[in-house]
Symmetry: C2
Subunit: 492 residues, 2 copies
């Protein structure tokens, strides 16, 4: 016996037994819930002893090479049955913490890390969490999260769960549940003019997930796509989906009529283009009819594909919705939609309508979304709750947009606002050279907001126009007035 | 006016009006659910006309270039308000179906596909769907789907939805909900001996999704991993996750003591190994303690990583569970678990416990799983329902396994069964050269089952041992006896 065992044993007789008792009490009070009580015959004691020994070996309290007492001796010392101790030893041998060799007894394995207790973990802090919470937020991208229709959703969930066939709990179709695809086909045709067939709809866990799939599919295409044109203003992490797949991302200029799709014909080696046709993100322009036509003509002429990001197609205020580009040519346009703006990003549900040539790219093992959540959304849409929710949100956001326009007219008359006919955000056009100082002023006001330059394609020279991107859907109702006031104070 | 317009107009006055009326009636009977009724002032008529015109243009019934009557004329003909027609025209112009030029009136756009009605869609038929449904199934991979605890799950769902903070509906932490990661850390430590810290747990939408992430992370590592050793028996679509990322997959032989990890040291350029340590898939062996140690020693000595696929670690019958390999060295082992075997694949929930070196690889925009489903699982586990469910399933599957053993002893005494101490499947060892004939016999019996050779690493010579892989958890209780009888009839 070495010293480290002697120290450990002194504690085990007292503390560990107490710990085991505590564990047993906890287990008993938790009722049938604790797995510790599955097996009869001292499993709890065994598990407690095993865990204590393992922790001691892991932290180095029992040094590598330490010889343990025989199971008979330890059992007598602890007042346990010999088998309980022998079983705990055997488990730890099986796990590699201990070694048992004929003639040399049971020892702490040499390979166990003896450097003492493990260093405290450095928590992984992804970028999104690193941002300190400001007092107000007008960051774009999310709807007012307090409006999620919990009661209606639970109702749909209950119905969906009761009606689900057993096979819904299996791996299922990689395209997603047919119930949801059927409802979506009807909805997309009605609300967005999409030529949708349930057979070609694919459910994914969010837009980035869909885009990542498409980037891979374009790379694998024959001939392989090498470059995807992207609008000169957009989101970094959308562009990253393509570059991560090894695709080039030449920029396509955006102006007040949307992306200049006429220029696609002059761009060499481009096999696809990503367009926010209904409401350019972030500038807010609707793609002009001539440019819609030019994009489709280009795609037809070169057998290229258009990826249509219809992220907020439901939200139109001052005009009738413009149907999706996809309706013009379902063979050349991939339609991309999401529940993130109309319902909540937390659902992680998005959908693609694929042209025939891409349907074969789907891996049979890559179904990404919970079947229950899909069935719930199908029920939610079929019951009319989705339409009602969108309508109610549309009124809410239109009111906010009107309040934003009025507040600007009163408090910052020099600032022009654009992109407001639709969507959940607006652009405030700032005098040249002032974006940075306005961003600093916003920071002082405790307002989180993004400058227009943050959306600019990294391969373009200069900083582009000065502006602020205002996500007016983001605050809750109670936070909205404060955020708006902070914005006005930050403006010149 | 061209001929195609004349024909169309004759129909529109009659049929389309009827269609619009039908649409209105349907909309009214659907109550507030239909989006068609959002706007006052003839939106339904406008939408009906628009859709009819669009469909006519799409199918070629209105040929490209066809000049449409003026909105005034058509309105008079149809008995509609002029604005209704003008609005419908304007929408279709915006969508690119029609063109409106000063002096030449409104025409069907030239680019619209005039090749007549679109060809019927070829439904995309992923491989999984292509398999014709047999009478019986003993395919491995899924639990008995009829046992999903719907009532308990709904209860947990209701609680989770009521308790969820608003931010749960947002994009959230790419690692997943902290509530679930906290409960998992406790569960994995208790049930599987995993050294888990919620900060290093990452929720993914299934095992393939997790493996795909890991393959990418290994490729991006410095120095980049070029090859991942995989067990000589395993699943194609798991190996594919690595090859799709450009990794080589040299095979590591498996015998009755599990993978021969001692051979890793002799394999050049291998930076990681994928192991099913607790229950080799498909052979069913538990990795021998010496081999566990050898794997960890190798990983430490070469700074390689072990990917531990603990897919069915909860299911042990005749022995105590063997703790996860990860506990031996959390810095060198990535632990991978899933809800697919203990609960249901349809939930699309899996988890990884990452070593520090991989936590930075997570994209902040790649959160894959529904927040509500994660909160529901957290509640389900914290309430003890998960433990209760696993315990009940363990009894059920153990009983089936015993019935399988008994049926074989009685009906096919020449067949040896192995891998039965744990998991949801067993291997029936067949006389050399008989696997194909037994597979044919199974097919005649209407029994879906997989031969052992289907799991063999494609780079290995020959066909390996003859055997059948029997997934005895797959049938429902009512289908189990029939499946078992079909199996016995198929055996020599």
């Amino acid at each position: 016996m070495t010293d480290s065992w002697a120290t450990f044993q002194a504690e085990i007789s007292a503390g560990i037994s107490a710990g085991i008792s505590a564990g047993i009490s906890a287990g008993i009070s938790a009722g049938a819930g604790s797995d510790l009580h599955l097996d009869l015959g001292g499993t709890s004691l065994r598990a407690g002893l095993r865990d204590a020994l393992r922790e001691a070996a892991r932290t180095g309290r029992l040094a590598p090479g330490t010889r343990l007492p025989s199971s008979r001796t330890l059992a007598a010392d602890l007042g346990m049955a010999r088998n309980t101790v022998a079983d705990a030893y055997a488990e730890l041998v099986a796990e590699g913490w201990l070694t048992a060799r004929q003639g040399s007894g049971t020892r702490v394995a040499e390979r166990v890390d003896a450097a003492g207790p493990r260093k405290p973990r450095t928590p992984a802090t992804p970028r999104r969490r690193a941002r300190a919470a400001p007092a107000h937020s007008l960051l774009p991208g999310a709807p007012d999260l307090s409006t999620f229709p919990r009661t209606e959703w639970l109702k749909a969930s209950r119905k969906a769960l009761a009606a689900a066939p057993n096979e819904a709990f299996g791996y299922g179709d990689p395209r997603g549940r047919i119930e949801l695809r059927t409802v979506l086909a009807e909805y997309l045709a009605r609300a967005r003019g999409v030529h949708a067939d349930p057979e070609r709809i694919v459910i994914r866990s969010g837009y980035v997930n869909a885009l990542t799939f498409l980037a891979g599919a374009l790379r694998r295409r024959t001939p392989a796509v090498k470059a995807v044109a992207v609008e000169s203003y957009g989101l970094d992490h959308h562009r990253d989906c393509f570059t991560a797949a090894g695709l080039r991302i030449p920029p396509l200029e955006v102006d007040e009529l949307g992306a200049r799709t006429g220029e696609l014909a002059g761009m060499s080696g481009v096999g696809a283009v990503l367009l926010t046709a209904a409401h350019q993100f972030p500038t807010g322009a609707a793609l002009h009819p001539d440019r819609r036509a030019a994009a489709v003509d280009w795609a037809r002429g070169t057998r290229a594909l258009i990826l249509e990001d219809d992220y907020d197609g439901e939200f139109r205020y001052d005009r009738q919705p413009v149907g999706a580009l996809q309706g013009l040519d379902p063979d050349r346009v991939v339609y991309l939609g999401t529940a993130s703006k109309a319902l909540a990003p937390g659902l992680r549900l998005s959908w693609m309508v694929l042209p025939d040539e891409l349907t074969g790219e789907l891996s049979p093992h890559d179904n990404t979304s919970s079947a229950l959540e899909q069935l719930t959304l199908a029920e939610f849409m079929a019951s009319g709750a989705y339409d009602r929710h969108v309508r109610s949100m549309r009124l809410r956001y239109r009111r906010r947009r009107d309040e934003l326009v009025a507040a600007l007219a009163a408090g910052a008359p020099g600032v022009r606002i654009s992109g407001i006919a639709a969507g959940l955000n607006a652009i405030l056009e700032l005098p040249p050279g002032t974006e940075q100082s306005v961003m600093r002023a916003a920071h002082w006001q405790g307002l989180a907001v993004q400058g227009l330059s943050e959306f600019r394609h990294p391969q373009l020279p200069g900083r582009g126009k000065d502006g602020l991107m205002v996500g007016y859907a983001t605050p809750t109702d109670s936070a909205w007035a404060g955020a708006l006031a902070a914005l006005i104070r930050a403006l010149p």
